[in-house]
């Protein structure tokens, strides 16, 4: 049974691909409305962990509960309460932003009112009629975020949502997420290479490397690990000898 205080509960989860152990017995708990960042270099196991929470991958060992439910038995309900934005998803090039949003809205049986609401939320009203392949990288990422927010998810999973974006576009995404934090009770799991993104947005930071959690807590708690560091990167170097963004 899961602890109902938490929206996400991961218990001793392990996952391997052929000879590579991507996640090695990870546990974590996330409260409703809490924003959590998963930080780590490439190959740390963040994406595999998030994919298991999304239900795309199945753990070899361990259990995952989302709002007390497991993917195996409650797939339909869990799809309704999760929103996600994957790294580098490309929508259909020749659909407009509005048509893309209507398409995804139809999967949740939502009508055009909700689509218009989301366009206002992501600040993309003026691009509704633009084809996806005519949107900039930042606009596409906002569209992906909008699609993730359509169903008013209880839990939002964002995989590297601002990778490759310029500082302005990144700031726009952050503002949308901060608004979400202030006005809705959505929980967020964010994977990122960017320390400042985690610092700016999240209540709690989890640092992963080679399939393990190296440390977790608020920014201050994390920096205090190992005798006080000025930045997460400095801390990561002291823990692993490598940069966080490698």
């Amino acid at each position: 049974m899961s602890d109902s205080e938490y929206i996400v509960e991961v218990r001793q989860v392990k996952k391997s691909f052929k000879d590579v152990q991507a996640v090695k017995g990870v546990s974590l708990k996330i409260k409703p409305g809490e924003f959590v960042a998963l930080l780590g270099p490439n190959g740390a196991g963040k994406t595999t962990l998030v994919e298991m929470i999304e239900g795309i991958q199945h753990p070899d060992e361990g259990e995952i509960f989302i709002a007390g439910k497991q993917w195996k038995h409650h797939q339909h309900e869990l799809h309704q309460m999760i929103g996600l934005s994957l790294q580098e998803t490309r929508f259909m090039d020749k659909l407009t932003a509005y048509e893309t949003m209507r398409l995804f809205a139809s999967f949740y049986k939502l009508n055009s009112d909700r689509v218009n609401e989301v366009f206002s939320l992501i600040g993309l009203d003026e691009k509704k009629k633009a084809y996806v392949d005519n949107l900039s990288g930042g606009q596409r990422q906002r569209l992906a975020l909008g699609v993730a927010l359509l169903n008013k998810p209880k839990i939002l999973l964002l995989d590297e949502p601002t990778t490759g974006l310029d500082p302005n576009a990144r700031r726009e995404i952050w503002n949308i997420l901060l608004d979400l934090k202030k006005n809705h009770n959505t929980s967020l799991i964010l994977t990122s290479h960017y320390m400042e993104e985690a610092e700016y947005l999240c209540d709690r930071i989890i640092i992963m490397d080679q399939g393990n959690i190296l440390g977790e807590g608020t920014l201050q708690e994390i920096l205090a690990l190992g005798g006080g560091h000025r930045s997460l990167d400095e801390l990561f170097i002291s823990l692993t000898g490598r940069h966080l963004y490698e």
Binding site: E54, L84, K94, L95, E99, L103, S106, F107
Partner: protein, 372 residues
């Protein structure tokens, strides 16, 4: 609010259809190109365009003395027009179309160069007492050039122009090359549209992680595939209608058999190739690999299934296998409806086999389908 416009199946069909019709190259390759091909091939093989035979003449002076000439050159000098070193003679025949023979007088080594470059198809060694002919007997064009030149040399131009009354050209609908071609093009259009329009689209969307994003919602997976097939079927129908309208108005191609049989076969052909397309695209996320797999399936069928020319030219042992290929089955059955007046009772077996092929391929494809 109209509820159907919020339904996921409606939205998926609209999205896929919009993607197809908003891509100008799809319209070109799907609609314009088959019509151009029908027009080009139909014209090329329907008009009495006549024959162009090009031959190299190498003079062998052995035994020739004084003002004597070898036999063929002697005849050409008297009867053909000469410009530079080329003798040209046109043999006229209204029924057969005119035959123009060009004889390039040249050296032995240059004659072989011309042959290798495809500028001539036959080399004639012209001697005092007659000619010998060198050519590839497997080359139909060379064989025809040989017969024309040899008959000309033996009998003079009359062999080609006389007895025109005994030739009765077939111009009846259903017996011309264009009547053979159009059903083949319709069948090929279905195969190409399904293979590229369904398989490639799925592989491309998998590689762009769009499939993965979609199945992370409450979308029904079957709706996605059904919508993709429906949008493609609608487009195939439009393409087929336009091609047929062109063939009917321009060449007078007619459907002599049952229209309902044609509809049934068209649907079963689409089911067959849609199922095969799902199977082809069931695993890979690499568009290069997908490209190769699609080509590996469609190219052999395009070559052997008799779309452009009869597959009965292949060895006898290969023909039973060729006849059971889906494209051959569709092409043959379309032809029987168009040209032989076939009805539903004549084509139901083929329609059933094609439908079962499609369903079995679809079910296997779905079983092994990778959504991400």
């Amino acid at each position: 609010m109209n509820k159907i416009t919020n339904h996921q199946l409606y939205r998926l069909i609209v999205a896929h259809f919009a993607e197809i019709i908003r891509e100008p190259s799809v319209i070109f390759w799907g609609v314009v190109f088959p019509i151009l091909m029908a027009w080009g091939l139909g014209i090329a093989f329907t008009q009495k365009g006549g024959v162009q035979a090009k031959l190299a003449v190498v003079i062998n002076l052995e035994g020739v003395s004084g003002n004597q000439q070898t036999k063929l050159i002697s005849w050409l000098t008297a009867n053909a027009q000469k410009k530079d070193s080329v003798y040209t003679i046109t043999l006229k025949n209204e029924k057969l179309g005119n035959a123009t023979l060009s004889f390039f007088e040249t050296s032995s080594s240059n004659a072989f160069t011309l042959l290798k470059k495809g500028k001539v198809s036959v080399i004639i060694e012209d001697q005092l007492n007659g000619s010998s002919y060198r050519f590839d007997p497997a080359n139909a064009e060379a064989k025809a050039a040989y017969h024309l030149a040899a008959d000309l040399e033996a009998h003079g131009p009359l062999f080609y122009t006389e007895n025109q009354s005994q030739i009765q050209p077939l111009t009846l609908s259903g017996t011309r090359y264009v009547d053979f071609l159009i059903p083949g093009l319709l069948a090929m259009g279905i195969m190409m549209a399904c293979s590229w329009g369904i398989s490639y689209t799925i592989i491309d969307r998998r590689s762009k992680k769009l499939l993965r994003r979609m199945v992370a919602t409450p979308m029904k997976k079957s709706n996605l595939l059904f919508a993709l097939i429906t949008a493609r079927f609608t487009m195939n129908l439009a393409e087929a209608i336009l091609l047929f309208l062109f063939a009917w108005l321009y060449f007078g191609v007619k459907i002599q058999g049952s229209f309902s049989a044609l509809i049934v076969l068209f649907i079963s052909a689409n089911i067959a190739f849609s199922g095969i397309a799902i199977l082809i695209s069931s695993r890979t996320a690499n568009t290069e690999v997908g490209n190769g797999m699609i080509n590996a399936i469609v190219t052999p069928m395009m070559v052997v299934s008799g779309v452009f020319f009869s597959y009965h030219n292949f060895p006898d042992w290969a023909i039973p296998a060729i006849q059971y290929l889906p494209l051959t089955m569709i092409t043959d059955t379309f032809r029987s409806i168009f040209n032989e007046g076939a009805g539903f009772l004549d084509v139901w077996r083929e329609a059933l086999v094609l439908t079962i092929t499609g369903i079995v391929s679809f079910v296997i494809g779905l079983k092994i389908f990778k959504w991400y």
